[in-house]
Symmetry: C2
Amino acid sequence: MASDRVVRPAPISGFPEWLPEVRRVEQSWLDRIRATYERYGFCSLETPSVEALEILQAKGETSQEVYTLSRLQAEAADADARLALHFDLTVPLARYVAQHFNDLVFPFKRYQMQRVWRGERPQEGRFREFTQCDIDVINVDHVPLSFDAELPRIVHEVLTELEVGGFSIGINNRKVLQGFYAGLGIADPLGVIRIADKLDKIGSDAVGKLLATELDLTSGQIDACLALAQIRGADAAVVDTVAGLGSSGALLDEGLTELAYVLGELADLPGGSVVADLSIARGLDYYTGTVYEGKLLDAPGFGSICSGGRYDNLAGEFIRRDLPGVGMSIGLSRLFAKFVNEGRFTEGPKSPTQVLVVVPSAERRPQALATAAALRARGLNVETYHEAAKIGNQIRYASRKLIPYVWFPPFDDDKPHEVKDMTSGEQIAGDPSTWQPA
Amino acid sequence: MASDRVVRPAPISGFPEWLPEVRRVEQSWLDRIRATYERYGFCSLETPSVEALEILQAKGETSQEVYTLSRLQAEAADADARLALHFDLTVPLARYVAQHFNDLVFPFKRYQMQRVWRGERPQEGRFREFTQCDIDVINVDHVPLSFDAELPRIVHEVLTELEVGGFSIGINNRKVLQGFYAGLGIADPLGVIRIADKLDKIGSDAVGKLLATELDLTSGQIDACLALAQIRGADAAVVDTVAGLGSSGALLDEGLTELAYVLGELADLPGGSVVADLSIARGLDYYTGTVYEGKLLDAPGFGSICSGGRYDNLAGEFIRRDLPGVGMSIGLSRLFAKFVNEGRFTEGPKSPTQVLVVVPSAERRPQALATAAALRARGLNVETYHEAAKIGNQIRYASRKLIPYVWFPPFDDDKPHEVKDMTSGEQIAGDPSTWQPA
């Protein structure tokens, strides 16, 4: 009996969930990402959703909104050390590598596909719980530059597999930016990076003004900085273009050499899918070399679909070792939700079932069960209809769930089994011990 | 450079995490559970980790310890509606079915493999974050009894696939218990169920005393209740045994008929793996018919490895429809951690890599990359060694990660490729476009 008091459930903004037909596609996306990451030998890692708050804040000024946990029934006397949900997978990786340092083989190549949480204000319409798919290489003391090329290659393969449409992974190098700015005589290159990172959002005029007012840059310096950010290119020719802008220095040269190397390693990928983009700054302080940012070609305003970069020392807050690394992250939930909102996945099957076995009558139910078992034994996903209902109702159930085949055990042992292809409508004889879906 | 201040990371009690070689096994467990659930046509579902607290508490007296969330940077003015992490997957299922009622096809058959959180005191050594693998059928108004048999069959298949060793899934029926107690003239049958649920923990003497002191049962009633709880059996013979204990009534008969039906449906499973166990009570008030509890035969004291039952109305707090269901849950983390603690999974491969391709020299690196790409194109998981190091170091890396094959591209294009089986030590010629692992 339905109870009298009803708490009507409502979606909580920022916490997406999907209908079964959409969840099925999400799962296939996760499977494909995992398979591609593993094809390059990266191991799976999962860490708890929860970290000590002091770990999450060890890097200092965390601008991320964090959710802390409280026990509903806690008494003041046994208050926990403060725990919080992780807001990304990079800090947990750093903590994990430091904690398990002696048990890992380096270079440590791992992927991690997990939910993260951000305590955003509900009204902002952003996700507060979402899945990221990260891939990183960490090593002791030194990470070969070849990984800076391997990671965008892997992510390129993932995005191609997911059929997200045209995309471009932009690559830049922080040494180029810092070296270029320093070569112009600018005192605070990191300050320029932080301001240049806003180019996409506020445009070049506004960035130019900020550079003048906040960092006292001359108009010549500003013009050069903005000209640098205009540069795009798929090959080492960008190096000459940068060199033509009148800055110079050892760090700039080093950055350009690295950038040219990474582009060269990726030269076999389809034209335009990986490009040098000198406007990419990635505001985070910890990037020190290569930086990445991927976009959809037909929705550049949608923002980054993957990003990452190289860091000199991932876990310096947690262990007295130098552990440089390079990593990329695919913002799965945001990307997936975009396609969901476009209505792409609403028409698919509502279950993994390949075959619905009809129960012809109560008496013939054992034969239906045996048929389903025979099909399952060969790895097929099979439902038996749950009662000896009218055949029309059983077929309608298959049709509503978009189950591709309906199996009819015979009413009589002398007759053959038949199987109906629900797409073509064709119905033919089938043997449960040999039949395969088309 | 390592920084001066180090926050030394420590495990947080109750939040397990695994080394890569153990995580690999955990992942294969999850894959196998998912594959088996899908083989029976159940669809995947994931819900947010977070629910409104009023949803989690809608069923009233929640004895579960719940973690609520607070935004670290929240101002009092924009305090969220209270959010909390789900403590099981049943309440989220109820909320989901009510919320998406019009978009689901019934009977709704779903599985859900997700983390849940319990705000236990840290010192208790229990998990505070763990993964459950639930499978449930929900229908409008009526759920055929055949599902009461299908679910333990599926879970039986899962546990067999996981090679957990000998196990037994015990089945009982709340109607049998309630009908039996009522037939003895006991005024509060549910009270007896709550006390009888403690049999495993406190023993029959203590249960007998509680029945006397708390419910005023006569010694004859107590003896009959305790005798009922002694009954085990793999087939309908238990019905006669129960009938011989001197209680009777329509509800008891109905329960015995259901129990006999479920046992009959499962009669083809290996002897002893599914048994009637009249001691199973499952304290939760919402079970109304079949109840389940699975145990490991060689570790009965370890407690239940799976459990569940039938409920008359799952979502009555959330929607004015009768939505009965039946479900089972595998406590994956607890079971898996048991085997981890026994040291079962510590010796396995540390990555999914099947082949490590050696980089013979800096000059031959392109050939190594091309070899790896050719192997990957055929679906193999392949790493290229990250630098042109000494061959011995490259082989040692493969050996430490337990990579089964090491591939040697030739130093010279005229020579053949060779591949070494790291287990047998055998090294033979191989063609990247055709070679397959043994």
